[in-house]
């Protein structure tokens, strides 16, 4: 089945130790998103790739970076995790064509990050 896969499902890191979360998709979608969801809160968009174009949200901290080496994979790098970065990180994809009606975002199961 076509899907969005996130690895690992649970990640534990130490304060200040860089960590990378990964997302892959078999849907061949051109847009990939990273959301941060803290406990009992709404998902918050960090950034997205439209094809190869990177789009950062204005309030996303510099501590968060992303890479998309090809259509299928997208990575979230947290350079120096703080205690406040503990959250669920959700990856999503969509097939968007500029000028056409909105297309559904498909979400992965998420990676829960714990910072010790």
């Amino acid at each position: 089945d076509a899907m969005v896969i996130q690895n690992p499902r649970y990640q534990v890191t130490q304060f200040g130790k860089p960590v990378t979360l990964s997302c892959s998709q078999t849907l061949n979608h051109n847009v990939m998103y990273w959301y941060q969801q803290k406990s009992s809160q709404a998902p918050k968009l960090l950034f997205h790739y439209y094809d190869k174009d990177f789009n950062n949200e204005a309030d996303t901290p510099d501590n968060f970076q992303s890479r998309r080496p090809n259509t299928s994979f997208c990575f979230l790098d947290i350079r120096s995790p703080g205690l406040g970065d503990a959250a669920m990180y959700l990856c999503a994809t969509s097939r968007d064509i500029r000028g056409l009606p909105y297309n559904e975002q498909f979400f992965g199961p998420g990676t829960r990050l714990t910072v010790l």
């Binding site: 709404a42 998902p43 999503a92 009606p101 559904e104 975002q105 979400f107 829960r112």
Partner: protein, 113 residues
């Protein structure tokens, strides 16, 4: 810019009873509207969406929602809930010129036998 307000943070309901989750949005432009469900430790799944046309939208798992432009609302309803409907529900809005989603804070539905 658009925003979403979910008026109830927690909704306890008995099995086989009806449920309504309230969602209001604010936007200066035409929008698309969505309801997603999130089961514990899982990603979000789309329940239904309003893009245009009929204001009553039917989704998966017996859910439906009604778009009311004059009241800027998009309330979600189900006539008879099951234990398996226990989850977090998120209303979301997207500006028609911008495909990004803005989510409400979520409503936790707990279904009891």
């Amino acid at each position: 810019a658009q925003s979403v307000t979910q008026l109830d943070s927690q909704v306890p309901v008995f099995e086989e009873a009806p449920v309504e989750l309230r969602c209001n949005y604010s936007s200066s432009v035409s929008v698309y509207l969505f309801w997603h469900v999130q089961y514990p430790n899982q990603g979000l799944q789309l329940l239904l969406k309003y893009l245009s046309g009929s204001t009553l939208v039917k989704g998966i798992n017996g859910f439906e929602a009604e778009f009311n432009k004059s009241q800027t609302s998009f309330h979600l309803r189900k006539p008879s809930v099951h234990i398996s409907d226990t989850a977090e529900y998120f209303c979301a809005v997207s500006d028609r010129a911008d495909y990004k989603l803005s989510f409400g804070a979520g409503t936790t539905v707990t279904v009891r036998a």
